[in-house]
Every structure is written in structure tokens, then in C-alpha cells.
């Protein structure tokens, strides 16, 4: 049992909901994509028009939670934290490369920052190429072929990176609790994010 006095606030309610809804939408997009392009799954599921409709609308909705979340100050503050690299992040990257035990980090370590930045860029590109494939009158056919090419390869890359993200979470119970409840143990925060001075839970 975790004692409330030992806990610090890591993620606000708005941030947790943005994470949850984005994760769900991304999960549905990846699952429906698999049903469209992995032959054995496609044969099992069939129903191509329905699967396409679900895929398209979940894909279009993918950036919406994040955009709505920008209305909240905590989320904007983390957005700023995630977008910039400081001296601490360069130390963290050196420590990872050298397999050192001491890996200094602020609220987010350099790996988490890179993951967040990749996710934002990848969502923009996958939605953009998806729009080119969906609204066929929008651009000439050669663009559609190019967009399909990028969409397919990027989708595979996203699947791999998301699997890595889930694996990291799987191995750290406290990090998972942080995203589920918003609260983490102070000792965990001091060990994993020594340069982060967390706020007390309200």
C-alpha cells in the first residue's frame, strides 16, 4: 500500500486522459491496419469497408486529444519540458551509451523526450499521408502512391516503437502507476528523475 504522504504528483488528470485516449486511438489504428494488411488477419476478419471506416475515423481523431489538452496549463508545461534538451539530457544520453548506472534526468529523461517528439512528428506525418490516401481528389495519383509508401513504412515503424514503449512501461510498475493514478513515490522520483522537483499532491 502506498502512503499518500510519500507520493508526489507526476501527471494531472488532463494529461492522463490525453495519454489514455491517444493510446486507445493509436491501438485501434494499429489493430485495424493489421486487419487490412496482414493477409491471415485480413482473411479472418474480412469486412473491409467497415474496418476501413473505423481506421479512417480513429486516425483522423488521433491528434484531437492532444489539441484539446493544450487548453490545460500542466500539459503545456510538460509540452515545453519535452521539447527542449538541456545539459542534463546530454549527460543522460552519454550515460546510456556508456552503460553507466547514474543517469540524471529532469521530469522527463532524454529518451522520454525523444519518444514524445517522435510521436508528435509521426502522428502528423501518418495523418497527413492518410488524408492524401483518403481524399483521393486532393492530389494527383503519384502523390497517392508516394503517400501510401510513406504510410505503410511509417506504420510499421510506429508499431515497433509503440511496442518498445509498452515494454518499458511493463518493466516499471511505478511509472505505470504514475500514468494511471497521476501519483508516484517520492523515492522513485528522486532516483529516476533527480533533477525534477515535483509538486505535492493536491
Amino acid at each position: 500500500m502506498r502512503r499518500r504522504a510519500d507520493l508526489v504528483l507526476r501527471f494531472s488528470r488532463a494529461e492522463r486522459w490525453v495519454h489514455r485516449t491517444t493510446a486507445a486511438l493509436m491501438g485501434v489504428c494499429l489493430a485495424t491496419a493489421a486487419c487490412l494488411y496482414v493477409a491471415p488477419l485480413a482473411e479472418l476478419v474480412g469486412n473491409r469497408p467497415l474496418v476501413v471506416t473505423v481506421h479512417v475515423w480513429c486516425g483522423l481523431a488521433l491528434p484531437v486529444p492532444l489539441l484539446l489538452g493544450l487548453a490545460f496549463r500542466d500539459l503545456r508545461a510538460d509540452f515545453v519540458r519535452l521539447s527542449r534538451f538541456t545539459a542534463v539530457d546530454r549527460q543522460w544520453l552519454r550515460a546510456v551509451r556508456g552503460r553507466a548506472a547514474h543517469r540524471p534526468a529532469g521530469k522527463f529523461n532524454a529518451g522520454q523526450k525523444l519518444y514524445a517528439q517522435w510521436t508528435l512528428g509521426a502522428i502528423l506525418v501518418i495523418v497527413g499521408t492518410g488524408l492524401l490516401m483518403w481524399l483521393t481528389h486532393l492530389a494527383p495519383a503519384s502523390w497517392r502512391t508516394g503517400a501510401t509508401f510513406v504510410h505503410d513504412w511509417l506504420a510499421a515503424a510506429i508499431a515497433v516503437v509503440v511496442a518498445g514503449h509498452v515494454r518499458m512501461a511493463w518493466r516499471d510498475r511505478e511509472a505505470r502507476l504514475g500514468m494511471r493514478t497521476g501519483l508516484v513515490e517520492r523515492r522513485w522520483a528522486e532516483r529516476e528523475h533527480p533533477h525534477w522537483r515535483a509538486a505535492e499532491p493536491e
Binding site: Y37, A39, A42, E43, V45, G46, N47, R48, P49, A77, V80, R81, L82, S83, R84, F85, T86, A87, D89, G106, K107, K113, L114, A116, Q117, W118, L120, G121, A122, L124, V125, G128, T129, L132, T136, H137, P140, A141, S142, W143, R144, T145, G146, A147, T148, F149, V150, D152, W153, L154, A155, A156, H195, W196, R197, A199
Partner: protein, 237 residues
């Protein structure tokens, strides 16, 4: 007090990563057609078939509009020919095999972009089946139905009589498997592959073209490869 101030003064790596990805994406869209061709060329020469696992791989993809398609075999497969004909009839697989056969080796082009080179199809020329049934005056088109219960296709009578339109019994010199639309599928060589209806079960001669499944969903009825659906692929036949 939070250290947001410190953390907001670092290098804007995030902006660079996001803009870099957008740039890569745009470059990929521009170069995509060439890269896709290179990937296809590679897949053609690939002896171990590993390239089939690559995203955007070249090869047939399974498209079905219903949840599950019943299997039809030698024992229960029938092809009905009816509508504006003198002699409506029902053919079993053995009957179709006893008719004159034609083998064609051409590229298959899907309207979604994938292309499979030099694919052999073999079967009864559709014109033969139409002549055997005796098309009545006033007939203008042919409607195809499928035993998946949902898919339909259509051709004008003139298109249907072309010598590169087959009721195919074999594909890649083998019986057509269930997932490729077997035991019998239509093969319309000069058109995008959605015209080549899988799981063919009925041929109805009609007075006018009735748009098929994909055509009611916005695709062209006259689906010539390279001259329809806003695409400029090299013709297949």
C-alpha cells in the same frame, strides 16, 4: 518551486525532430513512386521471399467485403448463366474444364497501387460462355454475382466479349485457392483488379450496365488500367 524555467531554456531538439520527420515524410511522398518501384524490383529478384514481409510489399492482398466467405468445392460449385439469353444454364466445375481454355500471362494492377508482374491466368473465354448461351437482341451488358453474397461487378457486352476476359479456373498455373477467389473467378486483364470478381457464381446478361459493389462506392465502371480512377499506370493488356 518547479524547474520549468531551467528546462525551458535548452536546445529546441523537439522542434528539430518534428520538422525533420515532416521533411522526411514530404520527401518520402515525393520519392515514394520511385522507391516503391525499386522495392518491387527487389522483391521480384528475391529468391527467399523475405521481401514479402516488408511494408508496402509487392504481392496480392486479400480484400473481402463480408465477414466470411463460404467455401465451394468440386462437389457444390455451380456457375449460373441467365438473363437475356436463349439458353440459360448452370455449369459445374467439370463442365467448365471441358470447354475451350485460354492462358494469359499479364501484370495484375490494383487500383490501390500494388502490381504483380507476369501472372498466369487460365480459363474459359467469357465470350465462349456467352455464345454458348445465345445472347438475345437488346442485351447491352453483363452483371456478375459472387457466392460471398455481396460482391457484384459488371461489364458492357462489348467489353465482356474481349478475348482477354476469362472465367478463370487456374491462376499461377494452379487451381485458384479460396483466398484468391477460387474455385472460379473473373479475370478482366485490361482493367483494375477489382473488376476481376472473386468467387464468381453468376453471369446475368442485362439491358444496361448496373454498377457493381466498388462502383457504387465511387470507383470507375470502365476501369481501364492507366485510363481511369485518376491513375496513370502502364496498361496491363
Amino acid at each position: 518551486m518547479d524547474r520549468t524555467d531551467d528546462e525551458s531554456r535548452g536546445t529546441p531538439v523537439g522542434r528539430r525532430v518534428v520538422l525533420g520527420l515532416l521533411g522526411l515524410g514530404a520527401a518520402g511522398v515525393a520519392a515514394g513512386p520511385y522507391l516503391q518501384r525499386a522495392e518491387s524490383a527487389l522483391a521480384e529478384r528475391d529468391p527467399i521471399g523475405l521481401s514479402g514481409l516488408l511494408p508496402g510489399n509487392n504481392g496480392f492482398r486479400y480484400y473481402s467485403v463480408v465477414t466470411s466467405v463460404p467455401e465451394r468445392t468440386e462437389a457444390d460449385y455451380t456457375l449460373t448463366v441467365d438473363g437475356l439469353v436463349e439458353r440459360p444454364g448452370t455449369h459445374r466445375l467439370a463442365d467448365l474444364r471441358a470447354m475451350p481454355q485460354r492462358r494469359l500471362v499479364k501484370d495484375v494492377q490494383c487500383v490501390t497501387g500494388w502490381r504483380v508482374p507476369d501472372t498466369p491466368f487460365e480459363g474459359v473465354p467469357l465470350a465462349h460462355l456467352l455464345d454458348a448461351a445465345g445472347v438475345r437482341p437488346g442485351a447491352k451488358a453483363v452483371r456478375f454475382s459472387c457466392f460471398d453474397g455481396a460482391y457484384t461487378e459488371s461489364l458492357t457486352l462489348e467489353q465482356a466479349r474481349r478475348d482477354d476476359v476469362l472465367v478463370a479456373l487456374r491462376m499461377r498455373d494452379d487451381a485458384i485457392s479460396h483466398s484468391h477467389g477460387g474455385p472460379v473467378r473473373l479475370y478482366v486483364a485490361p482493367m483494375y483488379f477489382y473488376k476481376s470478381a472473386k468467387w464468381l457464381s453468376g453471369i446475368t446478361v442485362t439491358g444496361a450496365v448496373e454498377p457493381g459493389y466498388w462502383e457504387r462506392n465511387g470507383y470507375d465502371v470502365d476501369a481501364w488500367v492507366g485510363r481511369s480512377n485518376g491513375r496513370d499506370d502502364a496498361p496491363t493488356s
